[in-house]
Structure formats: structure tokens, C-alpha cells
Amino acid sequence: MFHAQRPKEAAFYRPLNPLNSTAIQTRSALNPEAAVAAITLCSLNKRFGSHVILRDVSLSVPSGTIFGIIGRSGAGKTTLIRIASLLEKADSGELFYGGEAVSGARGQALLDARRKAGFVFQNFNLFASRTVFGNVAFPLEAAGWAKPRIEERVGELLELVGLADKTGRPANRLSGGERQRVAIARALANHPKILFCDEATSALDPETTRSILDLIQSLSRRFGLTVLMVTHQMEVVRRICDDVAILSAGSIVESGSVASVFANPRSEMGRRIVGEVSHG
């Protein structure tokens, strides 16, 4: 590997119930807080009409790690991350953020739960009507922060993503990479512990992709941020993910540490996806 990998033991991914504390966490030796996974999905099911999108998906993401979900188009990746991020509701199953059940949240509780996680989109989805500052400030305004605190926090965030000089620019007048940095700053505004990335680098060129991935990785390390990302790009997983799950036709067919899945894919889809990378 051309970059530093974090120490890792064998990862365990089986349907977990976070209330059942016998679940062993990968990074628990390094981080005592990781005893409860940052994100837990329990038996999620989702269908549109008669079409099954997700079938009994369970997943547990250890705190502070970067977890990749990889799969072909139509495998259900986007639906999965939209459900995990509370943008959509599953038909059945449960969702936990750090041991706290959030899948049933409504009203103010739902808004509070959403503030515990940030979301970065493939197409940035910045607010065209707002400046760079206004975009990053929005989640803080929504959370009722006072103006001086918002200004201070936005300055801090833009510094963090390297855009301190672009504060007043209209958001969509920036390059793709810069726009994604604004989106990352916006996603992290409320000090979330979790960051969801839906194909966050798919619209970017290879060099920009690398710089965005490195940024996400450094933010994750610095703030102990748990990142769940879906992607169809194997390079993305290889570059920054600690663990990976392979989603095929709405089911997780394989999961484990990136090193083990890449070295020895056990599922048919895993072999195909890994094979595509090594052969061209």
C-alpha cells in the first residue's frame, strides 16, 4: 500500500443487535468508546412496489473508522445510505447512531438525529442562492446558533477545508473540487460524529478525487469521525477505507477489512469486483 494503513484486526460483520453487547468491535482495543458502534443497521428492508431494493441488510460501523460500501449500479447503495442518513425510511429494520435508536425518530427528534450526521453528495448539491459562507452556515442557522458563533464556526470550517479565501463567493462559481470541499464543510458544521458520502468523488477527476479522499481521511482521524461511504470506485475503497462491504442485489454478500476482502474475496460478486481492478 502506498499510504499508511491503520492497524487492524480481522473485522467481524454479522447481523448485530447493538443491545446485545456480545458484539465484538474491531477497534475496541484502540478506542474504548468504540465498544458501541457509531452506526448500526439492523435487518433493513426496503421495496418500491414489488421491487425489492434492500433485503435484510445489517451492518455495524466501528467508531472512528472509514467504511466503504461497494457495488454495481442498481445494487441498492444509494437507497442504503439514504436510509442510514435518515433521508429515507426503511420498510422495516432499525437504525442506531452510537447505540441510540434513530429509525423511529419523528419531529424534533428526527431533526436532532439528522444533525448528528453530515451528508456529502455526488453532485455537491450546494445552495445556488447562497455564498460559500451561506452554505456552510445553513445547518447552524437551522440549529438556532447565534450569529457571532456561526461566523466563528464557518471560518473555522472553511479553514479546515482550505477555502478560507473563498468565503464570499457564490457557491456554484467554484470548481468541482472546491464545491465538494464546501459541501464537506457544510456537512461537518454541527460537529457531527458521522459523515455519509454518496459517491462523493464520482463527479471529480482523479487528482481532485485523491485530494478530497485525503481530506476526508484526515478529518476522520483528527475528529474521530466515522465515515460511511458508498461508491462504485474500487480505488476509493482501497485508498481510504478501513473496512468494506459488498452490496449485490440489495444484500450484503461479503464484508471485512479492505485488506482481507481484496486479498481473498469469498463471494462471487467480490471476486468479480476485485478481479476487475487487478486485471484492468
Binding site: 442518513s85 435518515l86 433521508l87 431533526l111 436532532d112 439528522r114 444533525r115 450526521a117 453530515g118 451528508f119 453528495f121 453532485n123 448539491n125 450546494l126 445552495f127 445556488a128 442562492s129 447562497r130 445553513f138 445547518p139 442557522e141 437551522a142 440549529a143 457564490p170 456554484n172 462559481r173 459541501a183 457544510r186 456537512a187 458544521a189 454541527n190 455519509f196
Partner: protein
């Protein structure tokens, strides 16, 4: 010339009064209706579009029905309402009532269409920020749709200039009334042409202002 100006001046103000006040009223009523329509149809926003589908359908039918009336008929139908609201069914102020009633469903459709043009991804971003629906509506959706809303409002005003010409029937006055009664029926072709020219200038002016505002907003994005 001085006579023409003297004759045109009053109807000109009457037309302006009718057009601007009914645009303002229709903007409020139709704007709220349009927001409501969009909210009901948008599952990401309301979270229960399926349950609201019936309400939406009824509202759709009502708006379509209201939009189907020829304005001249609507004006007569609304007479009791004008009497109720402004105390009289005659005159410029009374004419504002049917004009607002006619323009509201029109504005509702324009607002609905403008809002539905917004990229759903932008809405997702606002939702995932943990913002309340009200905040998303007023701090994100309306500002995002602003250029399109301004164009729509410009269109509404110009349509109302046309409708206001018919307000003479209920004594609303205005430039259209001047052109018909003073110009056409009294064989004062000069007055008729002058009135029409002023209407053309007014429409052109409204369109230019609308375009300038839209361009101004787009330039800052």
C-alpha cells in the same frame, strides 16, 4: 397633445393601481397556494404525499376550474364578494377583487412549477442539515427558485394588464376602458391609439424590469 395626456393620465394610474395591487394580493394568496401544492406533492418535504394525494387532487380541480372561467364571467360571479370585501361592486378598487381572484390560481401554478424545478438533491442537502420544513421552504426553496418566481410574477403582471382592460365593464376604468369607451365608441381614434400605445409601453416596462431583476439575481449566483 396636452388633451391626450390629460385624458390618459387618470386611466393610467387606475390601471397601475389595479395591476399592482392585484399582483400583490394574488402573490400572497396564490403564492401560499402554490407553496401548499408543492408541499403536498413533494414526498421528501411532506413525508406523506400518499396521504395528501386526495387533498392535492381536490385543490388541483378547484384551481383548474377557477382558471377555466373567462375573466369577464368571473368578474360578474365575483360581484357579491367585492361588495362584501370593499363595500361596493363598482369602481377601480372593486375591480381589484376579481383581478386578484383570477390571478391567484395562475400564480399558484407558477409558484408550484418554479419550486418543482429545484434540483431534488438541493432539497436533500437542506433536509440532511437537520432544518425544519418551514426553514427549508423559506430559507432554501424560495431563494433557490427566486429567478423563476420573478419571471413568473412578471408574466402575471402582464396578464393582469390585459385583464384590467376588461375592468371597464364594472366601472373599473383604466386604459382599456379609455380605449373602448372614449376612443372607439366616440370615434376618437387618436385617443384609442394613445391608450393602446401607453399599454404597450407599460407591458414593455414591466417585462424589462422583470428581466433586469432576474438577470441581477442570476449574475450573483
Amino acid at each position: 397633445m396636452a388633451e391626450v395626456i390629460a385624458l390618459v393620465a387618470r386611466p393610467f394610474w387606475e390601471t397601475l393601481l389595479m395591476v399592482f395591487s392585484s399582483t400583490a394580493i394574488a402573490g400572497l394568496i396564490g403564492g401560499s397556494l402554490g407553496l401548499g401544492l408543492h408541499y403536498m406533492a413533494n414526498d421528501r418535504l411532506s413525508g406523506h404525499a400518499a396521504q395528501l394525494a386526495i387533498v392535492k387532487k381536490v385543490a388541483d380541480r378547484l384551481i383548474n376550474t377557477l382558471r377555466s372561467f373567462p375573466f369577464i364571467i368571473l368578474m360578474v360571479l365575483v360581484l357579491p364578494l367585492s361588495r362584501l370585501i370593499v363595500g361596493t361592486s363598482l369602481g377601480t378598487v372593486a375591480a381589484i377583487v376579481p383581478l386578484s381572484v383570477a390571478a391567484s390560481p395562475f400564480v399558484a401554478r407558477i409558484v408550484e412549477a418554479s419550486l418543482s424545478e429545484i434540483d431534488p438533491g438541493v432539497l436533500d442537502a437542506a433536509i440532511s442539515s437537520g432544518a425544519s420544513k418551514r426553514r427549508i421552504l423559506f430559507a432554501i426553496l424560495i431563494p433557490e427558485a427566486l429567478p423563476s418566481l420573478v419571471s413568473g410574477l412578471t408574466l402575471t403582471m402582464i396578464t393582469l394588464v390585459g385583464y384590467s382592460a376588461m375592468a371597464g365593464v364594472i366601472g373599473g376604468g383604466g386604459l382599456g376602458d379609455l380605449a373602448i369607451r372614449y376612443g372607439y365608441q366616440r370615434f376618437r381614434t387618436d385617443i384609442m391609439i394613445s391608450a393602446v400605445l401607453v399599454i404597450i409601453a407599460l407591458v414593455e416596462g414591466i417585462q424589462l424590469c422583470g428581466n433586469a431583476i432576474t438577470r441581477g439575481i442570476r449574475a450573483r449566483r
